[in-house]
Amino acid sequence: MIEQVENPILEVHDLTVAYSNKPVLWNADFSIPKGKMVGIVGPNGAGKSTLLKAIMGLVPVASGYSKILNDQLKNVRHKVAYVPQKESVDWDFPATVLDVVEMGRYGKLSLFKRLRKEDKQIAVEALKKVKMLDFADRHISELSGGQQQRVFIARALAQEAEIYFMDEPFAGVDMASEKAIVEILYEMQKEGKTIFVVHHDLQSAMDYFDWMVFLNTRIVASGPTEKVFSTETLQNTYGGNLAMLQQIGQIYKEKQFPIRESE
């Protein structure tokens, strides 16, 4: 079941993404209302991160489009914050915790300008919110996984966006940090922000999110958690016909059989 909404903050229309001709995301078509805490779940390789990257323009799109606040991304960049997977950067980079958070201010400011006093204040406030102010002058390589994640979230907070996209913020994070991060996200939601989170744990997903998107190459379901969270959805996302597809794929591979007859 895919529940489409009026005046969505995020609209994804028939989005298809392929990596070297192999489709990883098929005709994703859904919409998200403003102010929701949204969880994207699905098995490994379902295309969760790809969906996020496609929305953020980080991977080329084969067809379809996405709109944020009914506009193209390039026109609303300052209202959008993206938190990449923390493994995507080299934490040995010569920068302190505060340096990284201050980068968030450059979304609003010209990169040729120096940060103003108020920008630095906003960065400090963001660090305070994620309880990392004591670490402001530490080198980023000295942080634990959970702390690295909180620094990334602080950078996003410093962007003062409307909608936040977070790629696996709970991956490789201890339980205490996960709880702390969830609290921060609830705080943000209270301030009217929309939060879009790639998540891998179904159990906690049910508690954390009030809107869920089930994904496995195609969108299986999208809607309020209580409406879409069902055995049927889970089966469609995690098992069933896709296991079938995999078996067929295996046969193709073993027999070296052509995928199309004309080949």
Partner: protein, 432 residues
């Protein structure tokens, strides 16, 4: 002394020839040094080698077309050839399954071979201007003249001004390109700009250290700088400084004994700085060892102090003098460690030696009490707040007692109140 006279003359800047060489190498060194930080953080160290080797055919063609050894033609040829090599490396990786490192190796050797062939063609041609062209292989800092300086100086200043202008772009895009993209940065343009900086600084830098060694002039100072600072700006400046110091040293050495080649000496000095950094900076190996030794000493002396107090703790004779063997037999401590600990403690005047007896001074008693207090408070804390059984808390407290600061002690007391006894029902000694 001859050396001092040479030194004074060299740095008196009275000799115009020396000044040209010095100014040239300093400018080129600084340029290569600061670009190196971008290169290393961009994980592009290998591409420098491809660019430098590819510059040779460019220089040769520049010479063949102009027929003179005019630095403008040579460098222009070099820059164009360098750009071609960067393009080739990317092109090969994009159209085939050849990985980047292999692609770099292929382009590097292909272009260099062409260069060597062209070099022999030029030598065969008998053009009298050609002598010295092969100096580009190992550098020819000593022959920098004023007209060279204008060309290198212009390009150096170009590089040196571009980096601060695009400082934030580089910082954000090199740390997190995905994030950079989402705030509207064009990663592709930044990559092109960095490639351009690499090509320009390589093309001018080979003047001093040559094609074969240029990658060291770019990569080594940056790699050394990261040992000393965690700040992007400071690492750029430090890297530039390291390259300048080595350049001056290299020029000076070859001035002292003219048979000595400048370029290789610059690199030797630079590598020495790198080795020194890896050993003695705060992140260095030796520094870590020294820290470890210091910690061990503190542990030993703390323990001896504690034992001296503990022997007489129960019958209130903690400040009584004890013999060496008495202390040694109290807890199994090695004689060597005990002597070492006592030596440190008498040095601090925490322990006083009277004849064959060792006793705690007033200050020593205070310190011993502090260590024991922290030990017992921590045991209590673990039992109460971490739900650890009382027979499992001692081991951790043994190390914790050496590192807890007065602030943390206050914090502990805030949590625990002011308890009288620890989990083993032993009194906790307070100051008052």
């Amino acid at each position: 002394m001859n050396f001092w006279n040479d030194l004074i003359y060299f740095f008196s800047f009275a000799d115009a020839n020396i000044n040209n060489v010095l100014l040239g190498t300093i400018l080129l060194g600084f340029t290569c040094g600061i670009v190196g930080v971008l290169v290393v953080l961009n994980k592009k160290a290998l591409i420098v080698d491809a660019v430098s080797h590819s510059i040779l055919p460019g220089i040769c063609i520049g010479f063949m077309l102009s027929g003179v050894k005019d630095p403008v033609y040579l460098i222009l040829g070099g820059i164009i050839a360098g750009a071609i090599s960067v393009f080739l490396v990317d092109w090969i990786t994009s159209i085939s399954r050849i990985k980047k490192d292999a692609s770099i190796a292929i382009v590097l050797s292909f272009m260099f071979s062409i260069g060597v062939i062209l070099l022999s063609v030029i030598q065969e041609s008998g053009n009298s201007n050609q002598s010295g062209l092969s100096d580009f292989l190992f550098g020819k800092a000593a022959t920098i003249i004023e007209s060279d300086l204008y060309v290198f100086g212009f390009l150096s200043l170009l590089v040196i001004t571009v980096i601060p202008i695009f400082y934030q772009h580089f910082k954000i895009a090199l740390f997190d390109p995905n994030f950079a993209h989402t705030i509207g940065l064009k990663n592709r343009n930044i990559q092109i700009l960095i490639s351009a900086l690499i090509i320009i600084s390589t093309a001018i830098g080979i003047q001093t250290v040559g094609i074969v060694l240029i990658s060291a002039l770019i990569i080594t100072p940056a790699s050394s700088a990261f040992f000393w600072t965690n700040n992007f700006k400071k690492s750029i400046l430090l890297s530039g400084l390291f390259a300048v110091i080595s350049s001056v040293a290299g020029v000076f050495i070859s001035y002292l004994s003219p048979l000595m080649p400048t370029g290789p000496w610059i690199i030797v000095v630079l590598s020495t700085i790198a080795i020194f950094s890896s050993l003695f900076s705060e992140k260095g190996m030796i520094t870590k060892k020294i820290k470890g030794r210091k910690n061990r000493k503190k542990m030993i002396s703390d323990n001896v102090l504690k034992y001296l107090y503990r022997i007489g703790e129960d019958d209130n004779t903690a400040t009584k003098g004890r013999t060496f063997d008495e202390i040694k037999n109290f807890r199994s401590i090695e004689g060597k460690e005990l002597s070492e600990g006592l030596k440190i403690l008498t040095g601090k005047k925490w322990v006083i030696k009277a004849g064959a007896l060792w006793m705690l001074s007033e200050q020593g008693t205070k310190e011993a009490k502090r260590i024991i207090r922290i030990h017992r408070l921590w045991e209590l804390y673990m039992q109460k707040f971490m739900q650890i059984q009382s027979d499992h808390v001692h081991e951790s407290a043994e190390t914790i007692e050496h590192i807890i600061t007065p602030e943390l002690e206050k914090e502990l007391l805030k949590h625990l109140g002011k308890p009288a006894v620890d989990p083993h029902q032993q009194n906790i000694p307070y100051e008052d």
